[in-house]
């Protein structure tokens, strides 16, 4: 599990981030004492640091520079200031990414994961397996029981989203939301069409009732 240090002076955001990262299966390390942060970081040895630029006493830029001397973990700047010079400065001081407030939660999570993967030298996972299905993301195919079918871009994304949340109910709204994050801009009707097509594909694999519709709630794999 990844240890993520949260350096953020707003107590509400700190608490919510702590909860959020816990739910995502990380170990959050919120900082509440803003003295000697580099020392604390060296002690706790986090895998990643979320750093707010507007801190009391000291600004995040100089803090980043001194953090770089004590720890190797990647640093993601999180800030309300979205001017270009700030971004350039943050990245040149050793920041690994730069996210501006207000951020959307899925985007934040996705970028944290991307930075963690990069720092661990991993590639994006290419194969997902769940509920008896195997999904090849780069090839765009799904297979089960020795049979394989090809999927369209939208079908692929929908199935991969359901597969990463196996057993959970994913609401249509959440599904549309997540698809938009992946630059697939579909509306409610188009989602229904894509869902029907996806089910037809899965039927070809001999798994017709793989995706269940939970009336009024969403879909479940």
């Amino acid at each position: 599990m990844n240890k993520i240090m949260i350096i953020e002076d707003d107590p509400h955001i700190r608490e919510e981030l702590t909860l959020l990262l816990e739910n995502e299966g990380c170990i959050p390390v919120p900082v509440t004492d803003f003295t000697d942060i580099p020392g604390q970081a060296a002690l706790r040895a986090p895998d990643l640091i979320l750093l707010d630029i507007g801190l009391p006493d000291r600004d995040g830029f100089s803090l980043c520079a001194s953090l770089r001397k004590t720890v190797n973990a990647p640093i993601i700047f999180v800030t309300a200031r979205d001017s270009c010079p700030d971004e350039v400065r943050a990245l040149s001081l050793g920041g690994d990414d730069y996210i501006t407030k207000p951020y959307s939660v899925p985007v934040l999570i996705a970028r944290i994961k991307a930075v963690l993967r990069r720092s661990a030298g991993q590639e994006d996972p290419d194969i997902l397996s769940a509920a008896g299905l195997t999904l090849h993301l780069t090839r765009g195919t799904v297979s089960a029981g020795g049979r394989t079918v090809e999927l369209s871009r939208n079908e692929l994304k929908i199935l991969s989203l359901l597969m990463t949340h196996t057993g959970e109910i994913v609401s249509r709204a959440d599904l549309i939301d997540a698809l938009w994050d992946n630059q697939i801009y579909i509306d409610d009707n188009t989602l229904s069409v894509n869902m029907t097509r996806l089910r037809a594909r899965l039927e070809e694999l001999g798994m017709p009732d793989c995706i269940r519709t939970r009336r009024g709630m969403g879909y479940q794999l």
């Binding site: 707003d10 981030l17 407030k101 951020y103 549309i176 801009y185």
Partner: protein, 342 residues
Amino acid sequence: MSFREYVSDKFTGIMIRLICAVAAALFLLATGTRPGILLILLCMLLPVSAGMLLHDFFRRRARLKELNAVFDGLDRKYLFAECVPPPKELYERRLFDLTRRAGRAMTTAVSDAETAGQEYREYIETWVHEVKTPITAARLICRRLNGDIRQRLTAELARVEAHVERALFYVRAENPDRDCVIRRTCLNDIAAKALQAHKALLIQSGVRVETEGLEQTVYTDDKWAAFIIGQLLQNAARYRGKDPVIRIAASPLGKQVRLTVADNGIGIPAHEVSRVFDKGFTGSNGRSCGGSTGIGLYLCRKLAGFLNLNLRLTSEEGKGTVVTLTFPAKESLPDEILQNRK
């Protein structure tokens, strides 16, 4: 100042002098001065006073020319009185003193107003950045609510954000060179950024978004361009019709790139189209749908001006609106903007 103007200005004085000369001549004639002597006297006096008049005219004209040259060379005209060589004549000197004092009072007032405006802008900018922290906290808290309420609250928060963003760009448009950085960017990234920012509004409005040919390279400031497209998306969602579709398409146009954002919304009445970019103009749609500030498109045009973007809007009532953005070729951008590249 022409000679004629000068003479007509001095007319009374000249007339009085002439009348006095005639009266004196008559008096001398009556008291027994011989006409020959009188003629000699007049022949001596007239050229002298004419000469004095001419000298005065040329002197004044030269002075005015000098003052005009100083004025034309000034960047801030209200500093005129400070930069003028002091006059020699007592009367003119007094006048200048008065003008200078008036000018100083004005300079102080102007610089006070400038400082106040600058401080106000800085405060707004700080405020915008500060208000983003509670919005972020609210967003994070929202995540724990159940479906329907979360969707609705997220959409309201997105509206707050859109207002805040407009305020920020309103301030930025006052000092464009401080924040505008022209970079090589893919149009797809700009469109994705704008769509991401207004995701909640667009999804909730049931809009279908179609994109085509966005794999073009443009030279622009991605944040500003995304803001402009974001305003267009918001308008398209707000003034939507049945089965709303927004189509974002791009195609090269010589060395330029043309981007169109088209919707099938309620459109704009023909007589209002020419005024949509005016500050504070809300139009009949804005009044009937509510929530229009008349700032969005005004800012779009202002920012587009800095980015050398050509912005054009056509609309047909009941059919939809098409906005065309033409991104400039790299060569046509002024050097001073490109030098900002990092």
